[in-house]
Structures are given as structure tokens and as C-alpha cells.
Symmetry: none
Subunit: 284 residues, 2 copies
DNA sequence: AATACTCGTTGCGATGGCCGCAACAACGAT
DNA sequence: ATCGTTGTTGCGGCCATCGCAACGAGTATT
């Protein structure tokens, strides 16, 4: 129902939009309704819902199917959304992410008055794509060249927080062997089970927090950003000296989470669209 | 600029598709190109790429923007894909499938330590929806949207392995006509009967394996993923250099099959629910 | 089994929208 | 100031689409 509802009157002229495009999108809109996306709909039913001629709907759907925007079940003759919509979005999410994230990071900066980062996972390292400071905004390679071991940072833990335990195990295994030798001072996560426990807590809480683990005197929080599939594709991170951010770490975490949800919604994450800031990280 | 993934010839007549729809989708296709998605494109450049009138492109983009399928940067006047596309994509079956499959692919990676893919059939090509690598440099370069000729890959053969022989014949016929000209070096399947035999073997074995057929030095296995109706909707694929995966190809195939069965069970496939013939439970 | 109903597709004529050319407005560079 | 961009907008002719209606196919009803 109703998230992409067409705002104006459907077939009233006045908008400069092309009529054919609008008709096609109305049809796709109906196919995208949650109650219909799973089952599919027939031509007459769509025509009835839209108040259009069924011949028109039939022809339009045939064209949409030919272009991959809709798919048809040959048994029931019902239509569903097609693969091409996915292909469009999938190729673009990362580029779109870096473009759209900036205003959200700025908003978070305005609320917390601390530096914020947009981070993704590359290999077993956390890569920072974008940083926004209270005064200046840096794009790109400032923090980028430095490969930060993922499990030590809140961003890294968030980025793997929707992984299954055994995938988490094999991923963290290599790192833990090296880390056990180095043994950082405040390192809280020393075994795989520690990581699994921490990740479970992150899932429940919605955001991750580290306290002087990565660097002495530094605290930080991170919240996951999900794309239209519901997969975690990035993390928004806030890092600051413990003396400044420490007392408000919980509040910072909740605000980071809220901003991350807004960004997720803009990326098309269905569960995050206009939801209350608690409950439901989509699903598991 | 010779984009291999771009759909059929732009202004070819003969398809019953509406001209306006095709034009709009061509424009969106250009906007979705990875090399352009980051920066965005102007009207003239799109018109030049497509060989269309810029007035037409300008008007079409205005309509697309009004409908939320494209967004415009008011400073540079460049267009990007719009939010509505992502809302649609989130409702696609592929999006749900990808979301559900990701943990299973990661688990398979944890066991085999090789890159795994989730593939679906699109026409006569195999489209990769998601790739997960052992170093977890997923989100890597160029996975989704890349399509390869189906009968040459293990994934493609798995995806058609529940088709009736005559359907298989007519499907492979078109491809074989093209492929006979190209004639890849290690191509084992040269006639329709070869394909039918291979598919029969796949059905009996449960998974497919290719040995340097698609690419020299590359071996791979694939297993089918079925939905609640028992139909094959996707394939899980593992590909790696022959020197690494070759000796354990059989084991990799059985493990891929086991994971694919688990995913099928989650999709509601009744036969895969309790009874897994080759069950490799617990750790690895 | 025959009927009546629903569903989806397809001809066909009239009409309305789109195509392409060209002029126009807004910048920026030389 | 002139030129070269880029993007937008009139305008006429042509063509694709709209809506009606008929048709084939499948299914429930009698």
C-alpha cells in the first residue's frame, strides 16, 4: 500500500508528464503493492483498480514484459515485477550511496557537533568513503588509504552484524590469529565467540559502540545503512574523544541510528520507510 | 561505446514494445551505467550516447523526474536514477531472493573459502545477482548486471535443468546458432542433444560442474534453488581456478547442493524441508 | 452437456500526442 | 563582444495510442 502513491489526480492533465509513462508507472505501482507483489495480478483486476480500459492495460503490460519491467506467470497469466527493476537499482546503489549520504552526515554533524564518517567493508578492512566534520567536509581518500581492521571498530562490527555465526567465524579467524599476537591494550574482543556475542548485542540495540578499543581515548558509535534489498551496505560512524562524546554515547548512538535509517529509506529500504526509530531491522 | 549488456538494438523496429517506453528505459539504462552512476549525466551527453534528439531526451527526462524515476542535481543539471526505481526494486522477487540468499552464500564461502554467486536466468543469459568472496571484498567490481551466455556455465545448465526436453530444445536452438560461429575452445556442448544429456546428468547428480568450458583455467559447480512451487528460480555457483578448486570439485558440488537445499527450504520448497540426502551437518 | 460468465487479446477508425527541426535563453571560454 | 556550449521550448505533420467492440478460451452454473 501507498508508499509510492501518485500524489496528484491520475489522469487529469496539468502535469507535463507523458501519459504513457504515467500509465506504465501506475501499473507497476499496483504490481508493487505488498499484498500483490508475492502473488501477482491479472489484467482485468489491474484495469479495475486503475479505472482504465483493460485493452490498454493488456497492451501496456505486454510492452513492459518485453522490456523486462514485468514478468508473467504463464500458468495463471498473472503479472509480477520484472528483473530489470532490480538490475537498474543494483548497479547503482554504491554510487548513489556516496552521493546521497553527504546531507545526512551533515545533519548528524549539526546535531552532535562531532565528525561523522560513511564506511564500507572492503575485504577485512573498513574503508571510509566520506567524512564530514563540524567545520569542513572531506571527500574521498583522506582516511581511505589506511586499512582499519574491521573487528576493532564499531563500524566494522556493524557491517558484519547481519552475518551468520559461521560466516562470521571464518571471516574473523584470520584476523584473530594476528591480533592475538599483537594484543591491543583495550581489546575486548579476543575470541570469535566474543565477536558473535557483540554482534548479537548490536543487532538488538541497532547500533554499535566502542570504548577506547581501537585507540586509547577514542570512543565511537556506528549504525547500519541498508539498501533496497535490506542488506547492510555501509555504516555511519561517529568518533570523538572520550571526554567529549563519552557522556552522551547512548544518545549519539540513537541519533546515528535514526539518521542511518533515513538514509536507508532513501536508498529504498522498505522496512525503514517512515518507521519509528525503534523495532524492526527489517528481518534477521 | 560498445556496452555489452545494453539491451537489443535501440531503434530496431519489430518488437511490439511501445516506443516511448523503450526510449525511457534506454535513458534509464544509460543513467545506470556504473561509469556514469557516480557523476550523473547531462541531457546532451545522453542524447549523444543514444543517438536521439536532445529535445526528446530533455522532455523525457523531465517526465521521468516528475514521476520520481530520475533525479536532478540542480547545480550541475545532471540526472541520476530516482528514488522510485529503488522502491520498485525493493518489491522485486530478485530483491527478496538476494536478501534471503546472502547468509547462505556467506556460509558456503566459510566452508569452501571460494567466491560464490547467486545467479538467475534472463532470457538466454545468466545474470549474477550477488557475489560473495572469501576475503569479503564483495561489493566488488562488476558483479550484478553482468550476464553471460547460459549454456556455457554450470549455473545456466542448472537453471534449465527442470525444463521439458522440447522447451530446452527451442531455448538452446537460438543460442547454438550463434555459438556455432563463435566456437569457444573448450566448448563441450555443441548440439541440443549434448545439452539434454548434460541436463539429465545434472538432474541425477543434483549439481552441475564445468571444467574450463566458460573460461580456460576456471572450474565451477552450481546447484539449483527452488521456491515453494518446486520450480528452479536461481542457482548457487562456486567458481575458482582449476588448480585450487579442481581437486575438490566433487566435495564443493555436494556442499553447494546442501546449501542450495537449505535455501530452498527457507523459500518454502516442501521436498527440501526435512530430507536432505547428502547432509553435511555441523561445522566444517 | 450446454449455457452463461469472466478473462485476456486483437481489429479498427478517429484523435491526440510525439517527433524532429529550429529558434531561443543562459552560461563560459577565448 | 563573439563564439561555442548546454538545455528548453514552439510548432506542424505524421503516427501511435485510445476506446469500443468482437472474439477465443477457460470455468463455474444449471
Amino acid at each position: 500500500m501507498a508508499d509510492p502513491t501518485s500524489p496528484g489526480s491520475p489522469r487529469r492533465s496539468g502535469t507535463p508528464s507523458s501519459a504513457g509513462l504515467r500509465r506504465d508507472l501506475e501499473i507497476l505501482d499496483v504490481l508493487a503493492r505488498p499484498e500483490h507483489a508475492a502473488n501477482g495480478l491479472g489484467v482485468s483486476r489491474i484495469a479495475e483498480i486503475l479505472g482504465r480500459e483493460k485493452s490498454q492495460v493488456s497492451r501496456a503490460l505486454k510492452a513492459l514484459e518485453a522490456e523486462g519491467m514485468a514478468e508473467r506467470d504463464l500458468d495463471s497469466l498473472e503479472y509480477r515485477l520484472g528483473w530489470r527493476l532490480y538490475a537498474f537499482a543494483a548497479r547503482t546503489t554504491e554510487a548513489r550511496l556516496t552521493h546521497l549520504a553527504a546531507p545526512y552526515l551533515r545533519r548528524l554533524v549539526a546535531r552532535l557537533n562531532e565528525t561523522t564518517h560513511l564506511c564500507v567493508l572492503r575485504g577485512s578492512a573498513v574503508l571510509t568513503l566520506l567524512s564530514v566534520s563540524p567545520s569542513h567536509a572531506f571527500r574521498g581518500l583522506g582516511w581511505e588509504g589506511v586499512s582499519v581492521p574491521a573487528p576493532m571498530t564499531s563500524a566494522g562490527r556493524v557491517l558484519v552484524s547481519d552475518w551468520a555465526p559461521d560466516a562470521l567465524r571464518s571471516w574473523a579467524d584470520a584476523w584473530l590469529r594476528e591480533a592475538s599476537a599483537a594484543a591491543a591494550p583495550h581489546q575486548h574482543i579476543r575470541t570469535v565467540d566474543d565477536l558473535v556475542r557483540e554482534v548479537t548485542a548490536i543487532r538488538r540495540r541497532g547500533y554499535a559502540a566502542v570504548d577506547e578499543e581501537f585507540e586509547v581515548g577514542l570512543v565511537g558509535v556506528s549504525a547500519p545503512v541498508r539498501d533496497f534489498r535490506g542488506m547492510i551496505v555501509a555504516a555511519i560512524n561517529v568518533s570523538a574523544p572520550k571526554g567529549r562524546l563519552g557522556p552522551h554515547l547512548g544518545e549519539a548512538g540513537r541519533r546515528t541510528l535514526a539518521i542511518a535509517r533515513e538514509l536507508s529509506a532513501e536508498l529504498g529500504h522498505p522496512a525503514a520507510r517512515g518507521q519509528t526509530p525503534d523495532q524492526a531491522t527489517s528481518d534477521g
